[in-house]
Each structure stands twice: as C-alpha cells, then as structure tokens.
C-alpha cells in the first residue's frame, strides 16, 4: 500500500516535508517544451470540489532534467515523473530521456489532461511507444471521460503498461455569480475533489475487473474511509489530490485513519481488502459472525 500525491497537487521543492510524508512523490506533468499554462484565472471552487485549467505549466524536459530532477533526487522519497505530450513521439522522447536517470522510479504517462487543445493519439499507441523507449515501470493515467474506460485500460495493458493511475479530472464549468460568464479564463476546467469520487471509484472498479493491473486510485479522497473504498474497488495504492491544497498534512492523517478502518473491518491486513468490492456479497451468517467479531 502506497500513498502518493496526484500529479500537479504538490510541489515537493516548496513543501519537502509534505513530500516526505508520502510513499512516493509524483511530479507535475513535464512536457517537451516549457509551458506557461493557460491565462489566469485558472482555478475556481465549486460545490464539493474545484475546477482547474492550469494547462500543464512546467519548465520543459531540458530544465526539468538539469535543475528539478537532481533536487528531487535528494529529497529521500521515491520519485515518479509524470510526462505529457502532444504526439506519440513526444512520449517516446520524454521516456527515452528519463530512462537512464537513477532518480526516477516510475514514469506516469499523462494521456488525459483535459486542459490542452491538442488531443494526442490513441492510448495504446502512446503506451507502446513509451514502452519501447524505457525500461522504467510505466503507469498510464486515464481519463474517466470515455464511454468504456476498461477498454482503454486493456489497450494500455496490451501495449505494455505496468499499472494504471486513475482518474484524471473531468471537464466541468462554473459561472460567475454576478456576470454569468465562466469563472475560468479558458471556460471549462478539470473537476477534482469529492465530487469526482464516485466517478473515480467506478473507473477503478471496472479496470481492476478488466485488467488486474496494479492501480493507483485517486479522485476526491479526503479520509481513510475514502482510501479504503478505493482499495476495495481494486486500487492497492491511492493518491491524494485536492485535499493536499486544503490539508497538506493529510497523508499522515489518512494513513492512520485507514489503519483504523481496516482494524474495524476485522478482515486482517490491507491486502485482504484489495478488490473486496468484487467479491460475492456476504450471506447473512457471514454478516452476523463478522459483526460478532467486531463487537467482541
């Protein structure tokens, strides 16, 4: 069981203590060239979540490799590098350049940012090209905005992904209370936070059943109970996103809450919970014996 941050939800260099409270730190998505991102305003609060239209602001791979990555390597926490591109070849190039860097534990392929206009090629193609370019473990980050996410996950699996990160944000719109114009300069933005949780759980549930791949589950986790539900749906690891904005101490808190939740469940260790949501519902006798075990 690992607790990570969702890409773009923590800057390990400005908040190293928070990064070290995670089992692995996931970078903000790195692209081939530097990007300033979209014009502000690019965040807005909504009921039960927030929208962002940051637009992959990042220093580009050259500067990331020369300046950022060496410093991340000194933090003492495992580093996952999220990469994003605008064509299949971009992903292959980025993976190739990360391949011999010892600081990098895992490469996460961001094939699902909702805040850029150029839609890359199919997920299978991207994963295949990345697979050919690196020996590093690859996790593919999927969007829930698709008719059949399990099909996308299977394509990624066939192309050689080692795991899945899911889900990315989903497009939402907020209008200003007075002007009735979009709050974000780009118009719509990626919805995250508790509003995303049921959507993310459904995606994890479907992809665990379809692929059996290791999954990092994310989408609106704010408590140990939420994390437990992702584990039960099939994600042996979880990532925290929007909660880190409001409560950067959340990793430690959620770790404790999760341990308590598992203790109360009376099923032994966490491994026994992975995928539990897929098991046949317990019969009446099992429920009563479990209740007795808990109360006893």
């Amino acid at each position: 069981m690992m607790i990570l941050n969702a890409s773009g939800c923590l800057d390990a260099l400005t908040a190293p203590t928070i990064a070290r409270s995670l089992d692995a730190f996931v970078t903000k998505t790195v692209t081939p060239l530097p990007r300033e991102g979209n014009a502000p305003p690019r965040i807005a609060e909504v009921e039960h979540g927030m929208l962002n239209s940051i637009g992959l602001a990042n220093p580009g791979i050259d500067r990331f490799l020369s300046h950022t990555l060496p410093r991340l390597g000194e933090l003492g926490v495992q580093v996952w590098v999220s990469v994003g591109g605008f064509a299949t070849a971009d992903y292959a190039d980025l993976c190739d350049r990360l391949d011999d860097r010892p600081e990098v534990a895992v490469i996460e392929l961001n094939v699902s940012c909702p805040n850029v206009d150029d839609v890359p090629a199919s997920v299978g193609e991207i994963v295949g090209a990345a697979r050919a370019a690196t020996r590093k473990p690859l996790y593919t980050k999927l969007s829930p905005a698709t008719a059949d996410i399990a099909e996308v996950a299977l394509a990624a699996q066939k192309a050689g992904t080692d795991g899945l990160s899911m889900v990315n944000t989903i497009l939402g719109l907020a209008l200003d209370g007075r002007t009735l114009r979009p709050c974000l300069s780009r118009g719509a933005g990626g919805l995250s936070g508790p509003a995303l949780k049921p959507i993310a759980l459904a995606a994890v549930y479907a992809c665990y059943a379809a692929t059996g791949l290791p999954i990092v589950g994310m989408g609106g986790i704010t408590s140990g109970r939420d994390a437990l539900e992702f584990v039960a749906a099939g994600a042996p690891s979880v990532a925290l996103g929007t909660i880190l904005f409001s409560d950067p101490t959340a990793p430690g808190r959620i770790r404790v809450e999760l341990a308590n939740e598992i203790g109360q469940l009376g099923v032994g260790e966490l491994d026994n919970v992975i995928g539990l949501a897929h098991a046949k519902p317990p019969g009446p006798s099992e429920i009563s014996s479990r209740t007795a075990a808990v109360s006893g």
Partner: protein, 223 residues
C-alpha cells in the same frame, strides 16, 4: 509553514469587515505581509488571509465577507475551531528608512501588524465610503481619503512606500513610487506552491504569487 487546529477567541465588526481572532496554537506569526490559509467551514478550499494583528497568544485576520468562504469565516463564533496553515509567502522588507504605509479598502488588512513592526509610521488609507473607513482605526497615524479622492493624491514625496490594496490602486502607486513594495492578491487553492492557480505575470513570465510574493517590488509586476 505549519498547520494547526485553533479556536476562535473573538469576532468583532470593524465597519463592514470582520476582525477574526484565533488562538495562536503554536504558529509563528511570521513577517507582516505574509499570509495564512484559513479553513472556510463547509467549503472545499481554504482562503488566503494576510495577518492583521498578532496580539499575545493570538492571530487576527481582517475579513471582507464577499463570497461563500469569507461569509463562512465571518460567521465563526468564539469557541468554534478551524484549521490554519502558515505563515506563507514573502512579507514586506522592513529595512526601510522613511516608511509610509498605503492601503485601500480591505487591503488595509496587513497594515496594522506592519505598522507595529515599523514603529507606527505614517499611513495613507483610501476607502469607498465612511463606513468602510472605520477600518482605519486599526492603523495608527493614518490619513484617510474617501472616494472620489484616491490615495495617490495624498502620498507625500520622499518616503519608502509599503502598500496593499486593489489592483488599480497598486498600479497607480507603482507609477508614482517605482521603489514601492506592493502586496498583491490572486485566487489561490493551496498557498504553498502546489496548485499553480495564483499565477501572475512577473518579469515577463507567469509565476506563482504565493511563492514569489505576495509582496513584490513595484517594478516586478505589470498590472
């Protein structure tokens, strides 16, 4: 930066604004111009507030109830609890010879603490109405102007200006006093460099106000 669960110790009206007092809870008050993220009860995101006053054992924030988060903060009562994170960002440089504090509207919020830190220097404060100008009582040695008079009409020459207020005011102050230190604001989800929501154009690039600012030299920002 530290996060603490603290108790509300008082809430008083200052004109249309609310001065919220909370127990310090072991947090460092930081430098004037630095800010804290205050949990807004019932809202997904906290709200950035510069520190207004640092009485012994307390922190105080001046809040204008303009939206759902600030309304929730202004409704807090003594005994209620909230989480706060800070101090964050870069405050004012205090190594100035002839300080003059300049504030506009709710932008006076960081000036009481700044005034105490600098030995109560003169201040020029601008408000949109007499009611709003009640907040001037928090800042010692203040000259007050009310719209349609603007603070720029009342800034004497030969001072080191430290200002906070709405963007048009800061832009006008920057033109008048290119050496001024200006405290800006921007929508912010986290306050600690993670969300990239508070990007502002700085030296020709979009940078995070929470990391580079919120206090910046006047020449750094194109308003």
């Amino acid at each position: 930066m530290q996060r603490a669960q603290v108790e509300v110790t008082g809430s008083e009206q200052v004109g249309p604004y609310t001065l919220l007092h909370v127990a310090r809870g072991g947090l460092d008050p930081g430098l004037p111009g630095q800010f804290f993220m205050l949990e807004a009860p019932g809202r997904p995101l906290p709200r950035p507030m510069s520190l207004c006053l640092a009485p012994p054992g307390e922190l105080a924030f001046l809040i204008d109830a303009i939206g759902s988060g600030t309304r929730a903060l202004c409704a807090l009562q003594p005994g209620d609890e909230l989480a706060i994170l800070g101090p964050l960002g870069n405050g004012y440089r205090l190594d100035v010879e002839r300080p003059l504090l300049v504030g506009g509207g709710i932008g006076v919020a960081p000036l009481p603490y700044l005034s105490e830190s600098l030995g109560r220097p003169p201040a020029v404060l601008g408000f949109r109405s007499e009611g709003h100008a009640e907040a001037a009582r928090l800042v010692p040695n203040a000259e007050v102007v009310i719209e349609p008079t603007y603070v720029t009409a009342a800034i004497p020459a030969g001072h080191d200006v430290l200002a906070c207020g709405p963007e048009p005011m800061l832009a006008a102050v920057a033109l008048l006093e290119p050496g001024a230190q200006l405290a800006w604001e921007a929508p912010m989800a986290c306050g600690h460099g993670a969300c990239y929501g508070c990007a502002v154009e700085l030296d020709g690039e979009l940078k995070r106000l929470c990391v580079e600012g919120p206090v910046l030299p006047a020449e750094a920002i194109a308003a």
